[in-house]
């Protein structure tokens, strides 16, 4: 029983990281229609930013985290300027920015590989290796921290999209770009903000993860795939979809790993199968978009 609770909390923390990555896809995808596979390598760059800020400069965690997330937002803004805006202004098909962002992905990865070398770099633990144990409840501080930060982010995102005018303008653009433009919404600004926010979210996900692993130049692709899988499971229609998708993915992964008696190497195929099944049975994801446009 204690094992189960322990694994549920650890899976929830893992799911939170997937959820943040899925949200990083979502904030860009909703207003622009662009699937940005570079989110994983935004995360890589941020992880090395975390190495510089938290390990090299030894900034306190909250300060270092804030610095990296803000810098990451700048990186997202820059990414949009370089790889997306010229194509949008030219009226290129939506596939063009997706491919341009794949080019950016390679550039980010190789820049990190050349700049920092191939060896992984450490990011300090915000709370050491401490651990909570209350009766049946057992969890690491890091898991609790991840869950807390992610909850705050999702509450914030929900509030922003549902309750603020700026957030509604995102939603308006998502529903109909032309109508939104006619209503006086500045499409270019919404797009810029979307990329900045996406990169900040990816950075946050990476910063929460890398104290557990380490920052290394090949970490981007798995992050990109995990986040996208979570997005597809949860559905691209609503903010909550990213969270639900991330949690389901991590729970399935870890509970299968723990309790299903199949060859350990094959367990990694389970989330992939889950994904394929989801795509075939419910391609709109668990949570359909509002207005039933499934």
């Amino acid at each position: 029983m204690q094992d189960l609770i322990e694994i549920l909390i650890s899976a929830t923390a893992g799911g939170c990281i997937y959820a943040l990555l899925a949200l990083a896809y979502l904030v860009v995808l909703r207003p622009t229609g662009v699937i940005n596979f570079a989110v994983g390598d935004w995360g890589t760059v941020a992880a090395f930013g975390g190495f510089l800020a938290l390990s090299e400069a030894a900034l306190p965690w909250p300060v270092g985290m804030a610095v990296v997330v803000i810098a990451a937002a700048g990186l997202g803004w820059l990414t949009e300027r370089i790889a997306v805006r010229p194509l949008v202004e030219r009226g290129a098909p939506v596939l063009a920015p997706i491919l341009a962002l794949l080019g950016m992905l390679v550039i980010f990865r190789e820049a990190v590989s050349l700049g920092f070398g191939p060896d992984p770099r450490p990011i300090p633990q915000p709370f050491g290796y401490g651990r909570i144990e209350w009766g049946l409840l057992a969890a690491s501080y890091q898991s609790v921290f991840i869950i807390a930060v992610t909850s705050a982010v999702f509450v914030g995102a929900w509030y922003f999209f549902e309750r603020t005018l700026a957030g509604r303008s995102f939603e308006a653009v998502a529903l109909d770009r032309r109508a939104a433009a006619l209503m006086g919404i500045n499409l270019a600004r919404v797009t810029s903000c979307a990329f900045a926010a996406g990169s900040a979210l990816a950075a946050l996900a990476a910063l929460l993860l890398v104290p557990n692993t380490s920052a290394h130049y090949l970490m981007g692709i798995p992050l990109a795939i995990q986040g996208f899988t979570a997005l597809v499971i949860g559905g691209v229609g609503r903010t909550e979809g990213a969270l639900v998708g991330g949690l389901i993915l991590a729970l399935v992964e870890q509970l299968t790993m723990r309790y299903v008696p199949i060859a350990p190497g094959l367990v990694q195929g389970v989330p992939l199968l889950l994904l394929i099944v989801f795509l075939l049975v419910r391609p709109t994801g668990l949570l359909a978009a509002r207005g039933g446009s499934a």
Partner: protein
């Protein structure tokens, strides 16, 4: 008739090159021809039919592993093994395509991405059958009617593969089927309204190109006489996509250019700038998309009088 003569001429010339090259150049030439064959069929799937699928390399791998396993472990004669390999590719492609091509755009990309990863998991976990992470080695191409196909003679086989792929794809492209595929790519609803069976056309395009990739894989299996999982991984699936895009998506000539440029780029750049070549690759990729949306082939075609 004219095209037959032309085709024969191409095959003769390309094969003749195979007899002129030294061992290193032959190796590059053979693998380049295989990349071109893959890029040609992938260009039809991605560029003409508009299906963003990442399973092309998986089928290349299925073909390669299938023929090796069928010949060396099952003990089938080569022609039968090749037929069985094709059949396997058809069955698997249909199994993927029938449900997956119902999916729109990037969902298909994701389903095939998952499939590509599953394939690697399967290869790694396949025990003695797939040889696990080390793959299969120590086999060779059985003699065909008493003839040993090795050296330049095997290069001719690869030339035939590539030119036949070119021929099949260009036939398809110019037929009603190619036009149907383009119509679906540009606007599925309009295509359906025109009476095109969208689902069936998509399934056929996917299956056909996947089988072509599988056949290319069978030829690859005897280039170095070893198959292993890293060759068929995601990295190469992305590289193939980049080849088609950089060359000029939707254009066969573009696929040839893209495959040639991207395959040869590291060989040319690595001695000059060391491991920065991977960074240059990303920059080239980005620049082509930003500056020349029709790919490198657009540079040629935009010159007056250089059209078809």
């Amino acid at each position: 008739m004219k095209t037959v003569v032309q085709a024969a001429l191409v095959i003769v010339v390309l094969s003749a090159i195979g007899f002129l090259l030294g061992p290193w150049q032959t190796d590059i030439y053979r693998k380049l021809l295989l990349w071109i064959a893959l890029a040609l069929s992938y260009n039809f799937l991605f560029g003409v039919a508009g299906q963003v699928a990442f399973s092309h390399f998986t089928f290349y791998g299925i073909g390669a592993y299938a023929i090796v396993i069928l010949v060396t472990q099952v003990g089938m004669p080569l022609p039968l093994a090749a037929l069985a390999g094709v059949a396997l590719c058809v069955v698997l492609a249909l199994a993927v395509a029938i449900p997956a091509t119902r999916l729109d755009g990037f969902y298909l990309a994701l389903a095939t991405l998952a499939l590509a990863q599953l394939f690697i998991v399967f290869l790694n976990e396949g025990g003695a059958v797939t040889g696990g992470t080390g793959g299969l080695a120590s086999y060779r191409l059985p003699d065909i009617a008493g003839v040993t196909l090795s050296g330049p003679r095997y290069t001719v086989v690869i030339v035939l593969l590539t030119t036949l792929t070119w021929g099949v794809i260009s036939r398809l492209d110019r037929s009603w089927f190619g036009r149907a595929c383009r119509a679906i790519r540009d606007n599925p609803q309009a295509a359906a309204a025109m009476g095109i069976d969208v689902a069936r056309t998509r399934v056929i395009a996917f299956t056909l190109t996947s089988v072509l990739a599988g056949i290319a894989g069978m030829v690859y299996a005897f280039v170095d006489n070893t198959v292993n999982p890293p060759i068929f991984g995601l990295e190469n699936a992305f590289l193939l996509l980049f080849m088609v895009i950089i060359g000029g998506s939707g254009s066969q000539f573009g696929a040839v250019i893209g495959a040639t440029v991207l395959y040869l780029l590291p060989f040319v750049l690595a001695p000059l700038i060391g491991h920065h070549h991977a960074l240059v690759f990303g920059v080239v990729m980005l620049a082509v998309i930003l500056v020349q949306p029709r790919g490198l082939v657009g540079l040629v075609k935009s010159r007056p009088g250089a059209g078809q």
